[in-house]
Symmetry: C2
Subunit: 301 residues, 2 copies
């Protein structure tokens, strides 16, 4: 049995250049590295997309957070963000003894009313225990498992099995909102405390269930001929992230006043009216609410 003590942690911000929460924190920690230093492991602060930050946009040529694949090579990298992904992968390996970090936490923000949320690409025991740990300290934390079956989306944090994206909102792009920045900093502090406990073998959370919201489907806006949205998120649906969406609830309001209702089985909506997802064809995502057992068989410490 291999030891899975954590030796290298990466905290990244600015993967999307207009999400200032992560940009501000990554800059601050790069200038003040002792703030994320703990005994027993190294923490590396990464400012992921400086070119996009400079121009205040999500990305320059391609969404960087769809460019990370463990086998990426410079040969395949044509666009600015594809090249930056390769560069980041090399940088991480140079810092982490030739491997990717054991844990990668990527800081994001959203225009949706997601509060303090964690977006997981997988549900390994470490991740579920970290979710349980954070929910204990911050009862308002919600975890969303974005495991679309057909795709390997290429998230930065998917380079490491352990870790996830922290996604906070609502906040406009290109705005630094102090309350959310402070809370995100506290969440990262707590993650580092958890890793410390993990390494010292004092984590006692493996016997519980963890409540998560698991991806079911994306729903797009009704569209006009030219692709522009033909309806708005219904005012009664706006801001209802992580709340129950019942069959028959209003979801869209047309500019002519026509109301569209949810005609599928009940679910829980996330990323309602996220600015960056208009171009991705996502008005909101519907998730299932499930309690996941932290599987003791997979728990190796």
């Amino acid at each position: 049995m291999t030891s899975d003590k954590i030796r290298h942690v990466c905290i990244s911000g600015g993967t999307h250049g207009n999400e200032l929460t992560g940009v501000c924190l990554a800059r601050h920690w790069q200038s003040n590295p002792t703030l994320i230093t703990r005994a027993g492991f190294e923490t590396h602060a990464l400012l992921a997309n400086p070119a996009a930050i400079k121009i205040g946009r999500r990305y320059v040529e391609k969404d960087l957070n769809r460019c990370f694949h463990p086998a990426n090579t410079t040969t395949d990298a044509k666009l600015l963000e594809e090249r930056r992904a390769v560069e980041i992968q090399s940088w991480l390996k140079s810092r982490c003894n030739g491997s990717y970090p054991d844990v990668l936490i990527d800081l994001h923000s959203t225009t949706a009313n997601m509060g303090l949320s964690l977006v997981l690409a997988n549900c390994c025991p470490f991740n579920l225990m970290l979710v349980a740990f954070l929910k204990e300290r911050f009862p308002e934390v919600n975890a969303y498992v974005w495991n679309e079956p057909k795709t390997q989306p290429g998230f930065l944090n998917s380079l490491a099995e352990k870790g996830f994206a922290i996604e906070v909102g609502p906040v406009a792009n290109n705005v630094a909102q102090a309350d959310l920045i402070l809370k995100t900093g506290l969440l990262v502090d707590a993650c580092l405390d958890f890793i410390n406990d993990w390494n010292s073998g004092t984590v006692q959370l493996q016997d519980r269930d963890v409540l998560v919201y698991r991806f079911r489907e994306h729903v797009d806006y009704p569209r006009a001929h030219d692709g522009f949205p033909a309806a708005m998120i219904h005012p009664q649906f706006q801001n209802r992230d992580f709340l129950e969406l019942k069959t028959g609830d209003p979801i869209f309001l047309g500019f002519d006043g026509a109301v569209t209702h949810w005609d599928k089985p009940e679910g829980w909506a996330v990323f309602i009216n996220e600015a960056a997802y208009y171009e991705k064809g996502i008005a909101f995502t519907v998730a299932d609410k499930v309690a996941l057992a932290i599987n003791p068989a997979e728990f190796r410490r």
Copy 2:
């Protein structure tokens, strides 16, 4: 004495391509012109910056809402938005008997907590009476008079003496938020009703004072060496647009926890933490709260 009956009104949206409130309404009214039709005058709906709307940005090469000067000519117009300004000016004249419209209302949104606000470039009696009329129908409406003495800023709505910008928030860029879109639509309806009353001589508001917030000064973020903000709007100051800013109140919170306090005379803040103003060197604007008399000497009906 010349008659100042209103013959031509322009309602514009999408002057900033990422402010979807105006984009959605201008598109809707272009497709459904009877919604903004009233007897006795013509209303023209303008989608001001389609190139910027298409790419979801405030502008392509230059802020269009700083490009309008009555004497603009094609010779001076180099950048995309400068050329578009000349084009719009020609289009308006072609629709309005060779002149600019009598009234121009330009629809904007802001990431600041400005609620339903009106941004006036001047305080002519028509504008003040329209403000008084709107405040009577919508008590939450606030009026901000942006008359920086040294500059002619080149706002689209400054092409007409009468009219102003409607500025609603908080809403993220590139997000269509139904409640604010519906309210903006109601404000425009009310403006058209007022113009109808104005033309029929039934406006009875000239004997009152109108409360407005008048530009005093812009305040920038503390900046790091590379120009990035070195502090955030203080959480106790965020969202306090149109509320009193007292000497000694906290205004900025540094990433190191240092607090900056307001050390000047009391004022009223607007545009607190507007995303688009980071690049303009404006963290917020301080205004004076003044009651303006609608000057009967200037009132010509």
